[in-house]
Symmetry: C2
Subunit: 227 residues, 2 copies
DNA sequence: CGGGTGCTTGAAGACTATCAATCGTTGTGG
DNA sequence: CCACAACGATTGATAGTCTTCAAGCACCCG
């Protein structure tokens, strides 16, 4: 069986062709790179979608805002991930660079136009959209029914799966982003992490406790026995 | 611009062809109807996906369970809606009839096989998947960041949009389903509805207060000013 | 070296959940 | 036909989880 290469769970970095976009299609796409500073906006919600993106390095957050500032981050995009796909013409989220980030850009129009005549490409889009849908479905369960401990454990497991090297997990995003991804506050996230540390399930490696975490996956999974 | 016909927001009933499945494709599909009793299972999570479905009459709930019984309903399917699509081979949810429900079934295999040679069909699948994704994205914001009042108001607005006739909203699902859709308990749902009634925003029409609600959309929207 | 930023920790509060009782409707059986 | 059990919804009282408010700490950078 073919391995599923997906926008949200790739070892990285990958080329577009490895993502399922036909290699011989590359020439049709105007590929260019662009670097975004930490905190800068890549696109805004409701803006016309001009490009689709692949993360070359760095991390991106994608979110929706309520009028009073409440924020829900629906996804983090790490190297290898493709994001910015929308079937309609407008973006449904705001995307920002969590850290300094380099992206590969592709004109959306050239892609959708090409998809008109290329069933394989359309199927690739379908597969990537399906992958996003799966992630959203799992995240609904987390947001609707899991406790704060389960959410944080699930987050660590997800991030470990997606961006760990050698058992060491370097979280690129601040607590606020984690909180807004999990539907919690930064204090609750912090307390959950502290508790996991007290239990010896995780460890902070560096003096600056912010970014580096060591995980004991076995025990961690106990806190979020996946359904 | 073409109106978007979507699995989750159709006036009903619709034929498959009206849903974007090419009319001339119908002959390829083994169309058959089946009726499910209230409460019976249509398919289970992780089961191989053999069919896709369109609701002819009735209502379907689609959900995930945690091992201890916590449930997250991700969607209700009402007449006209297509559901059961999965890009992979297995279902990712359990689907049950909320009320007595009649469905049109289509062999999934005949559909995906046909999609191999039919770009239009693949694009239709892409569009339907995208519609599901949009709904999931909006629901993540609701589950992650909205208050109980906002959730209930949003639910009433959604249901009003999708299945109201003449300003009267006949909710086909019990409180427990509403609660599990909104990430709340039945008591909180009930209290929120009572509060909206005290405020004169909604009304219960029949003596049996369970199913019929009258909505003042204007005021209701105030309780869930969409972002 | 001092201010800024992000994280942690503590205390108090609020919103929602839990536990429990009651009500109204439905359906069944004597 | 009526009584009563069963079920879903509502309402009340209490509890608990997570949030809010606040203070303190560590690191970074100018």
């Amino acid at each position: 069986m073919l391995m599923h290469l997906t926008p949200t769970s790739l070892p990285r970095p990958h080329s577009l062709s490895e993502l399922g976009l036909a290699a011989d299609f590359d020439p049709l796409i105007g590929l260019s790179e662009f670097t975004y500073r930490r905190g800068s906006e890549i696109y805004g919600e409701k803006e016309p979608a001009e490009y689709i993106y692949q993360v070359k390095s760095g991390t991106v957050r994608s979110y929706k805002l309520l009028s009073d500032g409440r924020r829900q981050i629906n996804a983090f995009h790490v190297p290898g991930d493709v994001f910015g796909l929308t079937y309609g013409g407008n973006h449904r989220f705001t995307a920002e660079a969590v850290a300094d980030t380099t992206l590969r850009l592709t004109k959306r129009e050239s892609l959708t136009a090409a998809a008109e005549n290329d069933g394989t490409l359309t199927r690739d889009l379908l597969r990537m959209t399906t992958t996003n849908l799966r992630h959203a479905e799992d995240h609904m369960l987390l947001l609707g029914r899991k406790t704060s401990m389960e959410r944080v454990a699930a987050f660590l497991i997800e991030m470990d799966r997606r961006l760990t090297a050698a058992g060491i997990l370097a979280l690129p995003m601040p607590r606020r982003d984690i909180a807004d991804y999990l539907g919690l506050t930064i204090e609750t996230v912090s307390r959950s992490l502290s508790y996991l540390r007290e239990l010896g399930v995780i460890r902070f490696i560096d003096n600056n406790q912010r970014h580096i975490v060591l995980v004991d996956k076995q025990q961690l999974a106990v806190f979020d026995r996946q359904n």
